[in-house]
Symmetry: C2
């Protein structure tokens, strides 16, 4: 099993992703990475904040990275889209 457990944030309701993160962490994972692109970036920040404020209070925000990804559309042209990665990690985890 990989230490890096990734949750991709899309257009579903925020609580769906919160539940996914909480489930992984309660299952013994000490670190979860949230990944989002474009407009879902705001939702990823919401997920991180809700998890640590309401559900798992010993979770901290680790590294936050932003970058640009190139997406190829059906016509063969490419578009740039911003992306974010937010690391959630249990403090004092062993």
């Amino acid at each position: 099993m990989s230490e890096e457990n990734v949750v991709y944030i899309g257009n579903k309701p925020v609580m769906n992703y919160v539940l996914a993160v909480v489930t992984q962490m309660n299952g013994g994972t000490s670190e979860v990475i949230l990944k989002a692109r474009g407009r879902a970036i705001s939702r990823a920040v919401d997920v991180a904040e809700i998890v640590r404020n309401r559900f798992i209070t010993d979770v901290g925000i680790g590294r936050i990275d932003i970058c640009t990804e190139e997406i190829m559309n059906n016509e063969g042209t490419s578009t740039n889209v911003s992306a974010i990665e937010i690391q959630l990690a249990k403090e004092f985890s062993k």
Copy 2:
């Protein structure tokens, strides 16, 4: 003059904010902080990426912080909203 020059990201077109950052940096500011709340968070990431990829290539992403802010509405009840701060800093600046 403060070292911290803040650009608040709202609902205007992305390029308005890009121009604001580029103007500040070309005026001699070595560090600009982007602040955004709610849905504007995605736009703040876009601004940071466009500035460093297209306009000022010696600018790097510094600290990125996320937090939750409590907003009081007209009826006296409060709502939580996520917020982000992105630090843009010139590398090798003196």
